[in-house]
């Protein structure tokens, strides 16, 4: 089984709204596929079809070789799903939720309890494990929900915007979980609105817009397509701003913009510009307190790929 996830020509309509207009993608076993797109692009619809929660109007998909329509039971035995909204029982404790799922997965009572304890520990919920979920914070719910989808040690894990609404430290934690899953051989499909998240986790990125795949590439390939990254420099001594600006102009080929707080910002193409800038700044004896190269935003990616922005405002929440 070469591909853990295969989607071919998936179409799904909701009344007059076309959520998916025929999408194709694949993911190798043991890889992370990032599905990138703005709200309403069809990410959630795609995940719900792959996780057998929704039937496609046309097209087909296989998870671990099982057809999501004809062999839904086979798919459900090997997948774990974490949606955008925590699907856990509010009145039950975290531990009871996990034990219940273990029992529904045909674990013996003892095995279900052991698995629940293990997952609570992994997600640092042991202390809160015996409190009803309705007392949990948003972040704790998300962690419990993720734990719930891992009870059966799924070979394929779907994560629908796992870090939306999490603070940066919790995001790092979630990324660590994804890496651990992949290290153990699982295949992960995650949707996200953040290019940096897809960049740091995904082996392949599928960009979806208006229910269509508009790019399917590696993170590096995608960055090459988009071209520009943003170089930000803050000289320690404000008196050296003009000197630094000159260097940036020479490296990037265009004049950097200055903001009032002593930052110089310039678009560059590729990481070579960063090294060159560092070398020249050192040569000129200009000390900096901040020097960073950041990825283009999702909006910039979209602009490059489609010629328009993410125009989230006029998109219905089709997903």
């Amino acid at each position: 089984m070469e591909y853990a996830i295969e989607a071919e020509g998936l179409v799904r309509r909701f009344g007059p709204t076309v959520a998916l207009a025929g999408i194709d993608f694949t993911a190798h076993q043991g890889s992370v596929l990032g599905v990138l797109g703005p709200n309403g692009a069809g990410k959630t619809t795609a995940i719900r079809i792959l996780a057998t929660l929704l039937a496609p109007d046309a097209g087909s998909a296989r998870i671990g070789g099982f057809d999501v329509v004809r062999q839904a039971a086979g798919v459900r035995r090997i997948v774990g799903l974490t949606g955008q909204y925590a699907s856990v029982d509010e009145a039950l404790t975290g531990r009871e939720n996990l034990i219940m799922i273990g029992q529904l997965l045909d674990l013996s009572g003892r095995a279900a309890r052991a698995r629940a304890a293990e997952l609570l520990d992994w997600f640092e919920l042991t202390e809160a494990g015996d409190r009803p979920v309705r007392t949990y914070s948003g972040g704790m719910r998300r962690r419990l929900d993720l734990a719930a989808s891992l009870v059966g040690r799924p070979a394929v894990v779907f994560l629908d915007e796992p870090t939306t609404g999490l603070d940066p430290s919790k995001r790092e934690g979630m990324w660590g979980v994804v890496r651990a899953l992949v290290a153990d051989g699982a295949t992960v499909l995650l949707t996200t609105q953040y290019l940096d998240e897809a960049d740091s986790l995904a082996d392949d990125i599928v960009v979806i817009d208006h229910g269509r795949v508009i790019a399917h590439d590696t993170p590096d390939g995608l960055k090459r397509v988009v071209g520009t990254q943003t170089l930000t420099v803050r000289p320690t001594d404000p008196a050296q701003i003009p000197g630094a600006a000159e260097i940036l102009h020479a490296v990037a080929g265009s004049a950097p913009t200055r903001n009032g707080r002593g930052l110089l910002i310039v678009p560059v193409s590729g990481e070579a510009a960063l090294q060159e800038t560092v070398r020249r700044l050192a040569g000129a004896g200009i000390a900096v307190t901040e020097l960073s190269l950041s990825l283009p935003s999702l909006d910039e990616v979209f602009f490059t790929l489609t010629g328009h922005g993410t125009d989230q405002t006029d998109l219905k929440e089709a997903a």
């Binding site: 039950l92 029992q103 520990d121 719930a148 651990a180």
Partner: protein, 276 residues
């Protein structure tokens, strides 16, 4: 998150065979697991039990002491004897409303997505909810009879008859609850389930022989009361708790139960499959 404890915990390997249960009887086992979940939820949310605990008590008190003096020639005890079987039937019909509300909540809050992504039968969450409801109905019977006893109600038949009355009431609720499941799967919010079902249950419980004898009503209303399923359930309850003829009312009740099942189970299942 504890990123270091990964490798053995995440494990994308199949579960060890030793820790798993046989595949035989899975549907029943899964349904019981889900019924247990409903029961725990219920007990931790006491307001979810008001309809099967406080409500019959309030109705018993209200009607015994407000109307008891005026009806049944002024004898409160006689009125309570007349009233209690009716309150039991009414309370159990009201108790059947909650299942649609709860299922609607489960669907809109997303926990059904979790159940559906698991390799369990699609019907298991539904069967689990119905099984848990049996406990609620048993609570209605116990609370109503026990509180009635405190107020002075005395069954005039055998223990077996009383048990038969409870069994009939619970079975009736198990048939009526499918109407609530149907509505619960049809409408968007759980609040509207409550509203719609109240529109059904209120006329049924007041347009019956629960509170006053049928012959005191105008003819057109008597016509409705005579076909009302609750009238026959109340009649059967009175017969089983106080003595007297029961055969006709029990038969009518069983017929109504069959009708409810035939009409609402397919409708509910269809709506459930569409929604879930």
């Amino acid at each position: 998150m504890n990123v270091h404890a990964s490798t053995t915990v995440a494990g994308a390997l199949p579960l060890a065979a030793s820790g798993t249960r046989p595949r035989r009887g899975r549907l029943m086992r899964h349904s019981l697991v889900l019924a247990k979940r409903s029961l725990i939820s219920m007990l931790r949310t006491p307001e979810a039990l008001i309809d099967v605990t406080l409500q019959p008590i309030i109705f018993l008190l209200m009607f015994t002491y407000i109307f008891g003096g005026a009806v049944a020639h002024g004898s409160r005890h006689d009125y309570l004897q007349f009233l209690l079987p009716g309150i039991l039937a009414q309370a159990i019909a009201t108790g059947g409303v909650a299942i649609g509300v709860n299922l609607n909540n489960d669907v809109t809050k997303g926990i059904f997505d979790r159940f559906r992504s698991l390799p369990i039968a699609r019907s298991a969450p539904l069967i689990g909810a119905v099984l848990a409801d049996v406990v609620r109905y048993a609570i209605v019977c116990t609370v109503t009879l026990a509180f009635g006893y405190v107020l002075g109600f005395r069954a005039r038949t055998s223990v077996l008859d009383v048990l038969a009355a409870c069994l009939l009431a619970i079975s009736f609720a198990l048939c009526l609850c499918w109407a609530s499941v149907f509505v619960g799967m049809l409408v968007r919010t759980s609040g509207s389930v409550q509203g719609i079902m109240a529109l059904v249950v209120l006329p049924l419980s007041f347009g019956s022989n629960t509170f006053v004898p049928t012959h005191t009503m105008p003819g057109w209303l008597q016509a409705f009361v005579k076909v009302n399923p609750l009238t026959h359930l109340v009649g059967a309850m009175r017969g089983l708790l106080l003595g007297g003829a029961v055969a006709s009312d029990v038969l009518w009740t069983l017929m109504w139960m069959a009708t409810l099942l035939v009409v609402f189970v397919p409708l509910a299942l269809r709506a459930y499959r569409r929604r879930v």
